[in-house]
Amino acid sequence: MPSDLIHQYMRIDHLPQIWCPGCGNGVIMRDVAVAIDELIQDEENDFDRDDFVIVSGIGCSSRAAGYLDFNSIHTTHGRAIAFATGIKMANPKLNVIVLTGDGDCSAIGGNHLIHAARRNLGLTVICFNNDIYGMTGGQYSPTTPNGDKATTAPYGNVDRPFDIANLATGAGASFSARGDVFHARETTEIIKKAILHKGFSLVDVYSVCPTYYGRKNKKGDAVEMLKWQRDNLIPTARYYSMSEELRAGKKLIGILSYNDYPEYTEEYAKVIAAASNKAKK
């Protein structure tokens, strides 16, 4: 029941949230809460609610940390993954979940993203990707499509965009996936898998920003933007049953890459064991 979820996992005193009407971020925040709830409920996992830490950076998406009733830390712009690195290293039993946005995670924080992926440190990064800087009023981000308009691209964006899930894969992420707002159930399942994954995991979740991105680029209202997601973002099973021709211009919702590389804190535990033995000798 959604209302139960709110009472159980949201900080009611701090709602309603600041996001605009039609914003996709609330749906993604709900997906995260449902994913954590289902994992805690599942006794097989032995998850304690207080073992979850939500870390965020700066931007619209990053406000989600304050609404979710867990240990939460709203850090500086771009640095959420770096803060999370210290938290996870200090206490590897914690489930550290980073909530970030396309700018926070792939522009100012891009360096931390690729290095956390390379190390395979056991963090779960959920990127609320709305193709725009919303908090500051609609400037182009590293995921704004080429040619689209933004307040800082009044003649159209000449940058070529990142595909954040592929970027993470390229950087060596052992789990990289894509989700969206329209396919909430599928996305929730992907987030659950990402949290359960031992190494570094990234889920690039396509949000919608009707206020700044949609309006500027004549994408219609929130409903129209969600319809676009329905028609162009395709869950795994259906995607692979489609012909090459039908797939053209469409994107997969699901897990893009998966590996069981050794996890960083487990590897470091071996360093501690080796160093303590040497010190004793």
């Binding site: 207080d50 240990n71 939460s72 850090t75 770096a82 210290g86 470091y268 080796a274 160093a275 303590s276």
Partner: protein, 383 residues
């Protein structure tokens, strides 16, 4: 055989930090601080602690703050260029009240400057580097042994006042080796910060009882859920858009240090009792000043050394207490006049304040200081 061992300043910083309970280090290589990272990488895992080489200095300080939030005493070390990169997150540590220690082994700037040459050019940056009004505690050692004992104090102050403490070293002390006999650290260390909220707190992590200045909170993962943010926040740790609450918060942050300044400030005064000239000098530079004071005394001149060990907040009261007996002051530092500004501010230039500084990467020698003292005397006679 002597029990002493030959130890480098940078190495002593790590040994002192480990003695103080430091179990997490994140950093990025930079001359002349690199030995601190190397020694931490070697020593921490032997103690069950963690070392990580991050992708830059911004992420290094961020990881340190994260580790501290999760319950570990944490430290990073860098030099000027990296210290500049760390400034935003140092401000975050101040605002969110996260204890940690940041070592800056200063080198000649600006920019890449003279990477291997000694400097004290980050003195003002240590105070004003991060934006906004904020308190700063900064300590500066003059010897290898003092590096060891003082960094333990840096951790103590950081824990006690829940604020990042800047440990302002310089190339002279960082790269110098001396024979040291380490004291028993147990006499020097305070425990980890209080592990529960203040009495009377309604699970409000930033609650502070009347008459106190420092909140108390559990690390993450120990059964209390709360929020931390760099935005202006109320006692529960949530952002608020209230001018009154923002004012109260910043005032309390500043008061934390200001109202406890007498406990935080430490100075070494050498032959100051009858001194008519005070050489004000800190860090590695003070070693030359010490020799200069002895040489001047041998010539029958009443010169003493006033050495701030706590360099921020500046030891205002202690210098003012000496002012009536002084004829003049000589500020000696490896920069173009930074602590000089504090000395001038505090003394209101009631007595002549002379200056000897250097930014060319060479080291000020005792002879340089003696020559300056002679020049000052000639000026007096001319008057």
């Amino acid at each position: 055989m002597s029990k002493a061992v030959l130890m480098q300043g940078n190495e002593a910083a790590v040994e002192g930090a480990i003695a103080a309970g430091m179990r997490f280090f994140a950093g990025y290589p930079i001359t002349p601080s690199t030995e601190i990272a190397e020694q931490s990488a070697l020593r921490l895992p032997q103690m069950g602690g963690k070392f990580i080489q991050m992708e830059d200095e911004i992420s290094s300080i961020a990881a340190v703050l994260g580790a501290s939030v999760a319950g570990m005493k944490a430290m990073t070390a860098t030099s000027g260029p990296g210290f500049s990169l760390m400034q935003e997150n140092i401000g975050y540590g101040v605002m969110a009240e996260i204890p940690c220690v940041i070592i800056d082994v200063q080198r000649c700037g600006p920019s890449t400057g003279l990477a291997t040459s000694p400097s004290q050019g980050d003195y003002m940056q240590a105070k004003w580097g991060t934006h906004g009004d904020h308190p700063v505690i900064a300590l500066s050692p003059s010897s290898v042994l003092e590096t060891y004992t003082l960094i333990i104090r840096a951790f103590n102050l950081s824990e006690k006042y829940r604020t990042p403490v800047i440990f302002l070293m310089d190339e002279i002390v960082g790269h110098m080796r001396e024979g040291v006999e380490l004291p028993n650290p147990n006499d020097l260390i305070i425990n980890r910060r209080k592990m529960s909220f203040h009495d009377g707190a309604n699970k409000e992590c930033y609650y502070v009882p009347e008459g106190k200045y420092v909140p108390a909170m559990k690390p993450f993962g120990q059964g209390e859920r709360y929020n931390i943010t760099g935005l202006a926040h109320d006692v529960s740790g949530f952002p608020v858009n209230s001018n009154e609450i923002a004012d109260k918060l910043v005032t309390r942050l500043l008061d934390k240090v200001e109202k406890n300044v007498d406990n935080i400030v430490r100075v070494e005064e050498y032959l100051m009792d009858d001194a008519e000239t005070a050489i004000v000098c800190f860090g590695g530079t003070a070693r030359a000043a010490m020799d200069a004071v002895n040489a001047a005394r041998a010539q029958g001149r009443k010169v003493g050394l006033f050495r701030p060990i706590t360099v921020w907040p500046f030891p205002e009261k202690k210098l003012l207490a000496r002012l009536p007996q002084l004829k003049n002051i000589l500020m000696v530092e490896h920069n173009h006049g930074q602590m000089l500004l504090e000395v001038q501010r505090v003394t209101r230039c009631e007595k002549p304040v002379h200056f000897l500084g250097r930014v060319d990467g060479t080291v000020i020698s005792p002879d340089d200081i003696l020559a300056k003292l002679n020049e000052m005397e000639d000026t007096n006679h001319a008057e």
